[in-house]
């Protein structure tokens, strides 16, 4: 028994030791292959497919760490100049601004990127470049709401919408960027009034995701929801027939067409300040902003391509062209904290 137990214990010890050794061997390995390391908060399978194609084309291996944007910013800060990350990709201009603001990105002067990405979708100091565009629009019940009654985001605070507006929690970055854009356009006071008015008209305490808001519209909990365009695309193309039917019962409305324009945001990428594989990083950015990759972004994920030479997916074309907010997306980051403070003050859950 004694011998047996000792044998067992030593077996355990040796197995741990082996695992540790194996792990450290991997560390010691010197990788001669070209690589590019990405920190990203985009979790879509399509992104991985694009990286795989890039690797096939260029023989540059793409390594990925996925986590939330804020965690990645935090990680980059902590790692400082020793970071292994070469590219930072996130789905919000506000977060790109924050990364730039903290000095985590570097300026990239590159003609291909300049040609592929329009000026309003990139950082003025070339610290980051937009890759895909999403609009935050109104989604309404076809059977209960007349399109004529919809006009602007501001109009949603009108008494006629009392108890009819659906929107997710203020903890969500898309809402924070939306309010930040209002602060940038019409000032803090007006933005606060808007947020307060919207809270007064909410059909319920904010809960669930963007898709859940569309479902709540169809369920009759409210009439109009504020949500991102691509979620409607995903509902219509869902494997679940019930979700498809929800997607078909709602319509998309682009607000503020006659005034300040519809709020848009980007997924964008920048090269990290302490990148060790800068050339490879730029190659990957060139590829991602190019027509092949851009059309795949558009088709698979129902996002608007940032590259103007690439057509949007058929569904998005159906919704037509629209006027977008005329502000530098950097503002979304600048006013993020203010937006969060306003949300807390007006008690937007």
């Amino acid at each position: 028994m004694n011998f047996h137990t000792i044998k067992k214990l030593s077996f355990l010890f040796f197995s741990i030791l082996t695992i540790f050794l194996l792990a450290s061997c991997q560390l010691g390995q010197k990788d001669t292959k070209e690589v590019v390391n990405i920190y990203t908060d985009r979790h879509y399978d399509t992104d991985q497919e694009l990286y795989d194609i890039f690797t096939k084309k260029t023989d540059i291996k793409v390594n990925v760490v996925k986590a939330s944007a804020d965690e990645l910013i935090n990680k980059l800060e902590l790692e400082g100049e020793d970071t292994e990350a070469d590219i930072f990709i996130v789905a919000d201009a506000g977060r790109l601004f924050r990364a730039k603001d903290k000095g985590l990105l570097q300026a990239i002067e590159n003609d291909v990127l300049e040609n592929n990405i329009p000026n309003n979708l990139q950082d003025e100091d070339n610290n980051w470049f937009g890759l895909t565009v999403r609009a935050r629009v109104l989604v309404y019940a076809k059977d209960r709401v007349d399109e004529e009654d919809l006009s602007t985001y501001e109009d949603l605070t009108n008494e006629k919408w009392q108890g009819k507006i659906l929107v997710r929690s203020s903890e969500n970055i898309y809402n924070q960027s939306l309010l930040a854009s209002f602060i940038a356009i019409s000032g803090e006071e007006a933005a606060k009034d808007w947020a307060q008015g919207l809270v007064n008209n909410m059909a319920r305490t904010p809960e669930g995701s963007d898709r859940d808001q569309a479902k709540a519209v169809v369920a009759g909990i409210g009439d109009v929801a504020i949500m991102n365009t691509y979620y409607v695309g995903k509902l219509i193309n869902s494997p679940d027939p019930e979700e498809v039917s929800v997607g078909e019962k709602v319509s998309v409305f682009f607000p503020n067409q006659d005034t300040t324009g519809t709020h848009i945001n980007v997924s964008g990428a920048g090269v990290t300040k302490h990148s060790k594989n800068k050339d490879n990083a730029i190659k990957l950015l060139e590829y991602l902003s190019g027509e092949d990759a851009q059309s795949q972004y558009a088709e698979a994920n129902y996002e608007y391509p940032a590259n103007p030479n690439v057509e949007a997916a058929d569904l998005l074309k159906l919704w037509g062209e629209f006027k977008t907010q005329d502000i530098n997306l950097v503002k979304l980051g600048e006013f993020n904290q203010k937006a969060v403070e306003i949300f807390n003050q007006v008690n937007w859950k």
Partner: protein
């Protein structure tokens, strides 16, 4: 003389190992706790004014109601299962542990989907043309959160209470019956008092899990203390306020833990005789049997069968997307969980043994400190660990260069060690508590007998204590294993490049609102956990029979 020397030497071994380990665990945490003493800034005042009151209220409500409900369900089930015999009892005995295999965040997504407008329940009613007010389907509320926590965490209390009841002597309950007490009175006057420690122990685990949860409350939009920590940290980019909040939370936890200590300290039940006559189950008949069976089946359905079936039906939409990468995911997850489990169990044994043999103030403090990690929010542990590992890498850079002059600096930081280390900090408490209560159960008589017969403490530990601790070791291993399997926040932040686990995959899909795709990895987590639980059940049964002490 010789004997005394050997005691001294042994004290050093136990002490040194324990001390080093405890130091390793608390240093990163201390590192970050010092931030509390920095001057509070405007953001802190904003949080205090607008967020804290409501968040504290919600958190307290959640914690208190969940603890209460899980206790009621857990204890009542344990009582019925241990005292009575009724149809399906054999399945329910282990079946009722299964809800533990579904991580609360997956349960939240599943029930959210189930109750949503496109979910099976509403679709069914629509097809039957029955109109029900939407407010009855509102699972994403405080009530819904309590529901999810209750039905997926009650097994903590059920398991502990059941295993405790099984070790009780039949005479205890027979006496009560002979004295003319009804079964209910027996439960109240005999059952509850002896179960007090188990209930409190289990409830503490539940409370800590609830306090640390981020997935459920985030998805349901419920604002709690952990949301406040993340808002401070991420929306305001203010680590100091986040840590301040986390420390506040820790103080609450420490307070709760002290209460638990106090309640445990005064009671000590023990039987003079090591042979305990096991309970003879009372056979229920008629309506009582039906009631008992349906109660068990109801809880099992809500906590396991229904959500699992829902996941399976979602999985059917997307099963064709399964590919070879899932094999690696599963392998990663497995290796992770097993390594962490082994390390935790070994160190828990050493420290618990040290703290038992040398009941000094230092040993008590050390045993408490070991379990501190469980009360710190995952994200805070993550930052603490990254900061420490970067410091270590900076110190050891010259040493690394001896092997490879061109080596990168962040060798440890970019390795899996960092993640494993963080898991150990986080889940030490789970393993330690099980093993400590195992030591409590076997007492020190056998150990002392062995020592007085001339065996030293190491030999006694291996030959006498460990075999007797087998059930405790097994249950500690399984609990830690399942927790690591499900772990999310640490894995997300600390993982190396190209590293996915089943939990991160589930989260990524669910976070992108791709609930159908998320179902496959979620089901794999559930499947592996179920196997682990079945293994636990079998192993404990066997160990119990073998060592009939």
């Amino acid at each position: 003389m010789l004997n005394r020397l050997s005691i001294k030497r042994n004290l050093n071994i136990w002490f040194v190992i324990s001390f080093i380990f405890v130091l390793l665990i608390i240093l990163p945490t201390l590192n970050i706790i010092f931030k509390v003493f920095e001057q509070p800034n405007d953001i802190w005042y904003h949080i205090k004014e607008f967020l804290l009151p409501e968040y504290t209220k919600n958190t307290l409500l959640l914690v208190i109601v969940t603890a209460l409900l899980t206790s009621i369900i857990g204890v009542s089930l344990a009582w019925i299962i241990s005292i009575y015999d009724f149809p399906l009892r054999k399945i329910l005995v282990w079946g009722l542990i299964l809800p533990l295999s579904i991580p609360p965040y997956i349960a939240a997504y599943t029930y959210g989907g189930l109750f949503s407008y496109t979910g099976s329940i509403q679709v069914l009613f629509r097809n039957l043309n029955i109109n029900i007010d939407q407010k009855y389907f509102d699972i994403m509320s405080l009530k819904g959160t309590i529901f999810v926590f209750t039905f997926f965490m009650y097994p903590y209390i059920y398991m502990i209470s059941k295993s405790f009841l099984e070790k009780q002597s039949a005479s205890l309950f027979e006496s009560s019956r002979i004295l003319g007490k009804s079964p209910f009175q027996t439960f109240i006057y005999v059952g509850l008092p002896i179960l007090k420690t188990s209930i409190i122990g289990g409830a503490i685990l539940v409370i800590l899990e609830v306090l640390n949860d981020y997935g459920v409350v985030k998805y349901f939009g419920i604002q709690t203390f952990s949301t406040a920590i993340f808002t401070a940290w991420f929306s305001f980019g203010d680590v100091t306020s986040a840590v301040r909040l986390a420390v506040l939370l820790m103080l609450i936890v420490v307070f709760v833990l002290v209460l638990e200590r106090l309640s445990r300290g005064r009671i000590a039940y023990s039987y003079a005789n090591t042979k305990i006559r096991p309970l003879k189950k009372i056979k229920l008949r008629g309506i009582k049997a039906i009631l008992a069976t349906s109660y068990g089946v109801l809880i099992l359905s809500l906590g396991f069968t229904i959500p699992t079936l829902q996941l399976v039906s979602w999985g059917l939409f997307t099963y064709y997307k399964i590919n070879i990468s899932y094999l690696f995911l599963t392998l990663n997850t497995f290796i992770n969980a097993i390594t962490v489990t082994i390390v935790i169990v070994i160190f828990a044994l050493i420290i618990a043994n040290y703290s038992r043999l040398y009941k000094t103030r230092l040993s008590k403090i050390m045993s408490r400190l070991t379990t501190l990690g469980y009360s710190i929010p995952g994200a805070v542990i993550a930052v603490a660990v990254i900061t420490s590992f970067i410091a270590i890498d900076n110190h050891f850079y010259r040493f690394y260069q001896l092997f490879n002059p061109n080596i990168k600096k962040l060798v440890l930081t970019s390795s899996i060690f960092m993640l494993l280390f963080a898991y150990i900090i986080r889940y030490m408490a789970i393993g330690y508590n099980s093993i400590e209560s195992g030591f409590d159960k076997i007492g020190s008589t056998f150990h002392e007998a062995s020592r007085s017969l001339g065996m030293n403490s190491v030999k006694t530990f291996i030959k006498v204590d460990i075999p007797m601790l087998k059930p405790a070791i097994i249950s500690a291993s399984i609990l830690v294993f399942i927790d690591v399997l499900k772990e999310l926040p640490l894995t997300l932040i600390l993982r190396p490049f190209n590293y996915d686990t089943l939990a991160t995959k589930t989260y990524e899909y669910a976070n992108d609102e791709m609930i159908h795709e998320a179902a496959i990895p979620a089901l794999m987590i559930v499947g592996i956990s179920v196997l682990a639980i079945l293994g636990l059940n079998k192993a404990i049964g066997k160990a119990g029979k073998k060592n009939d002490y």
